[in-house]
């Protein structure tokens, strides 16, 4: 099956593009996809531990099974609003 993967923020910079299509084995889960992306070594491991995933614009869990045509967004910790609390 094929899904569309969207990248945002620091992930988009690391991957070098905002989205791409991925071929996955039938029955692959959200966790399978994330582990696959993580294995490409694009980011520090710590960041992968803190991401969330949305499938078709709804927050998803590790075990959720994907289906052909899904839109899967990899979301670094969000930082909208105005006050930055993070380390610089």
């Amino acid at each position: 099956m094929r899904v569309r993967v969207l990248y945002f923020g620091v992930l988009k910079d690391a991957v070098g593009r905002g989205q791409e299509e991925m071929e996955l084995a039938d029955g692959a889960s959200v966790g399978d996809l994330v582990r696959g992306c993580r294995a490409r070594g694009l980011l520090a491991a710590g960041l992968w531990d803190s991401i969330a995933v949305a499938v078709n614009q709804e927050y998803a869990k590790d075990g959720d099974v994907l289906k052909d045509g899904d839109e899967v967004a990899l979301l670094p910790p969000v930082s909208g609003g105005n006050e930055g609390l993070g380390t610089v």
Binding site: V30, G31, L33, G36, W48, A52, P77, S79, V88
Partner: protein, 181 residues
């Protein structure tokens, strides 16, 4: 209920004025503006980006939840994207209610929750470099869940694939570029 994501300047004063009706005893406003520094490092500007469709839906959900949860009369939530300079409004939250207590609580809850769950990010451009601002981290309800195993790479079968340098062996995705942004 007014919920928007915009690329234009947020007319904060006009929006606040439009929110007031006779039944209101209080209007609480959170006007989030771009600060001129982060921990003393001088900020030139901020670039906000969003997973736009999802962010708007999340914001609508939060606004409706705030009305139900705190019993306030009406809520406005507007977030701006793109490049903002010091002093400009990035997010505006306005809560109109009969009494101040509910208004303050709803306003505080809205900005705190928005910052943790709505998919919007900002890149801070400093005089001497740029960085994606760290978020506070996702609450448990929207994270991948404890069972994810993402932090435990030692457990098979992932470790095996990783050690072999053959991620394809465990059914991992092969990326193909379709479209860039």
């Amino acid at each position: 209920m007014r919920v928007e994501i915009t690329d234009a300047v947020i007319p904060a004063a006009e929006i606040v004025a439009e929110m007031k009706v006779g039944a209101d005893g209080a209007v609480c406003v959170f006007d989030g503006i771009v600060r001129d520094n982060t921990r003393g490092r001088k900020t030139l500007h901020l670039d906000y980006e969003a997973y736009r469709e999802m962010a708007l839906e999340q914001m609508k959900g939060l606004a409706a939840e705030a009305i139900a949860k705190f019993g306030v009369r009406d809520v406005t939530v507007v977030h701006r994207l793109g490049r903002l300079v010091v002093g400009e409004t990035s997010v505006l939250i306005v809560v109109a209610s009969a009494h101040r207590g509910a208004g303050f609580e709803a306003c505080r809850w809205l900005i705190d929750t928005l910052k943790k769950t709505v998919p919007i990010w900002k890149k801070e451009q400093f005089v001497d470099g740029a960085v994606w601002a760290d978020g506070e981290g996702f609450p448990e309800a929207v994270g991948l869940g404890e069972e994810s195993g993402l932090a435990s790479l030692d457990t098979p079968p992932f470790a095996k694939g990783a050690k072999d340098g053959a991620p394809g062996d465990i059914g991992l995705p092969k990326a193909r570029v379709e479209a860039g942004e």
